[in-house]
């Protein structure tokens, strides 16, 4: 549904995007992760036609965003990081405007006005905006404004949704509401969302695309990426801790790095998983006793840090 190939974008000699390629299919929510300035928003702006790429193409349901922009934009809904809302309109006026501008009532509709009114009512109901439909957008809280912006992205029932930081600045209850809405849309849409809240990405997404300094580092589902990048990290806890144990573990040839927390739990990375036996043998030979020796958690945060640090 969404196909991005070889996107390149340069600003004043600096490559913001370098040969970015990935795709998003119907029924999937893809998490688009990257540090600040990595190129997430630039990619999303190019996908939605706000800016043009120097090279590469974006196809939405087969329509190229540059060659067939109107057909492509009919298939896509965009929630940017800064929601583009007219603050002097009421919620209802704002959604009605979006419905009309996106051509929701087709020329063939016998009763266009009724179609528009019904769609506006559906959007207000879907996004729980009934209580504030008569209020000016400028007077709403951030959570409500985000929902109005999401309504704008959904009015024409697009097949592809692009969400840039959809839960930024929201409280936990609002985040849960947005999450539920996104999950309810997942079945018949291709959704790509970016977020700094890794917990949200873990909860919502079934695939990941990680970008760093304008280049795609990895794509795939969670399990594949975890296996690839979680690394061979282990946590060691011993019965009889010695002060120089960290240094001794670090000094082992099979250990690439090691660190300790304030509970004397040592986390270390192995170059090969088979070397775990060597570490266990070393600790037992020292007579320190092993209390715990297990793989470190392959959380998304860990994966993300591994991925971006490997790039460096």
């Amino acid at each position: 549904m969404l196909e991005i190939a070889n996107l390149t974008k340069t600003y004043q000699g600096v490559k913001a995007l370098d040969n970015v390629s990935f795709s998003v299919n119907k029924g999937h929510v893809v998490g688009f992760l990257g540090a600040n300035g990595a190129g997430k928003t630039t990619t999303m702006d190019i996908i939605c036609g706000c800016i043009g790429s120097d090279k590469g193409h974006v196809k939405i349901c087969g329509y190229d965003i540059l060659d067939e922009p109107i057909q492509a934009k009919e298939k896509i809904g965009y929630l940017p990081d800064v929601p583009p809302l007219y603050r002097d309109m009421t919620v209802k006026e704002s959604i009605t405007y979006a419905v009309r501008l996106n051509g929701v009532a087709k020329k063939s509709d016998k009763n266009k006005k009724a179609s528009v009114t019904q769609r506006v009512t559906d959007m207000i109901s879907m996004l729980a905006l009934s209580d504030v439909s008569h209020k000016l957008v400028g007077s709403l809280s951030k959570g409500y404004r985000q929902r109005v912006a999401l309504a704008h992205a959904l009015v024409h029932d697009p097949e592809v949704l692009v969400l840039d930081e959809p839960t930024e600045g929201l409280d936990p209850r609002q985040i849960a509401q947005i999450r539920d809405i996104i999950l309810s849309l997942k079945e018949d849409k291709a959704i790509i969302l970016s977020s700094h809240i890794l917990q949200e990405v873990e909860n919502l997404c079934d695939q990941l695309v990680i970008i760093d300094k304008g280049k795609i580092v990895t794509t795939g589902d969670f399990e594949d990426i975890a296996n690839k990048f979680a690394g061979h990290s282990y946590v060691l806890s011993v019965r009889h801790y010695q002060d120089d144990l960290l240094g001794q573990i670090e000094g082992l040839s099979c250990v690439s790095k090691a660190s300790k927390d304030d509970k004397n739990h040592i986390q270390f990375d192995l170059e090969k998983p088979e070397a775990l036996d060597d570490v266990a043998k070393f600790v037992l030979d020292k007579g320190l006793g092993i209390k715990k020796l297990a793989p470190a958690s392959s959380s998304l945060e860990g994966i993300f840090q591994n991925v971006t640090s490997q790039k460096q």
Partner: protein, 257 residues
């Protein structure tokens, strides 16, 4: 085309949601009223000196000349008002990032530009219609030439049309409303004085003729005299299309910057 009307209607309504447009129209009506009162006083004084009546000989100007004077002064007032009306067309949307809403909607850039143009044009049309209460007094209490009056207003609307297109273009070049205001006013003023400076800049050659042709006042004056010529109408229509084209290029090119 529907998208243009939607954008125009939304912007037209939005313009009146703040005191700015109302204040501008109030200012325009106020200054027009002062001109009107001055003209009527002068006319009454001249009539008193020449009891042969309105439109008679001597120093009494015909009623039609008063209406011409009102329309002529109105177009100078609009040099101040028009930039304030057009300055936010694109500049405001660029600054608040609402431009993304228009960029991601399935509409062409021409629809956006034309919609912005229509909203500002109709706002100024509304202002001019309000100011037409003054010539209406002359129509009720005098005997002006109705067709000449209507042709004068047609010329005014054509003049406004190309100036609004120019203002829209300047607004699309910047996100700062003040700069849009300033450069629109300077641009319109420069066009006005082209007639006078052209011979000084370019002598008497082809360039001077071209510059003089580009000056709007000579084209406008024929409308004030009740004359509609194809040359003058085409001038205003072409200038309007030209500046709208520039605005479209400017708006569309933002994607590539």
């Amino acid at each position: 085309m529907l998208a243009s009307w939607l954008i125009a209607a939304k912007d037209f309504k939005s313009g009146f949601s703040t005191p700015r447009t109302g204040a501008l129209i109030f200012f325009l009506l106020g200054i027009s009223a002062i001109f009107f009162a001055t003209f009527v006083q002068s006319f009454v004084a001249a009539s008193a000196q020449n009891p042969m009546g309105m439109g008679g000989g001597g120093n009494t100007p015909p009623i039609q000349e008063l209406i011409k004077g009102l329309i002529y002064n109105l177009q100078f007032l609009l040099v101040l008002i028009l930039p304030a009306v057009t300055m936010g067309a694109f500049a405001d949307e660029l600054k608040t990032q609402t431009i993304r809403f228009l960029q991601t909607a399935p509409i062409s850039s021409w629809s956006v530009v034309f919609g912005k143009y229509l909203s500002r044009f109709f706002t100024l049309l509304f202002a001019v219609l309000l100011c037409s209460v003054f010539p209406l007094y002359f129509v009720i209490y005098g005997n002006p030439e109705p067709m000449a009056t209507l042709v004068g207003y047609l010329g005014l609307m054509l003049l406004i049309s190309y100036q609004v297109a120019f203002g829209i273009w300047v607004s699309s070049l910047t996100s700062q409303q003040f700069l849009a205001f300033l450069f629109t006013m300077l641009g319109i003023f420069t066009f006005f004085i082209l007639d006078f400076v052209a011979p000084k800049i370019a002598g008497s050659g082809v360039l001077s003729n071209v510059l003089q042709y580009l000056a709007p006042l000579s084209h406008f004056e024929s409308f004030l005299n009740g004359v509609i010529s194809v040359e003058d109408v085409s001038y205003f229509v072409l200038m309007t299309i030209c500046f709208l084209f520039f605005a479209n290029v400017s708006y569309d090119s933002k994607r590539w910057r």
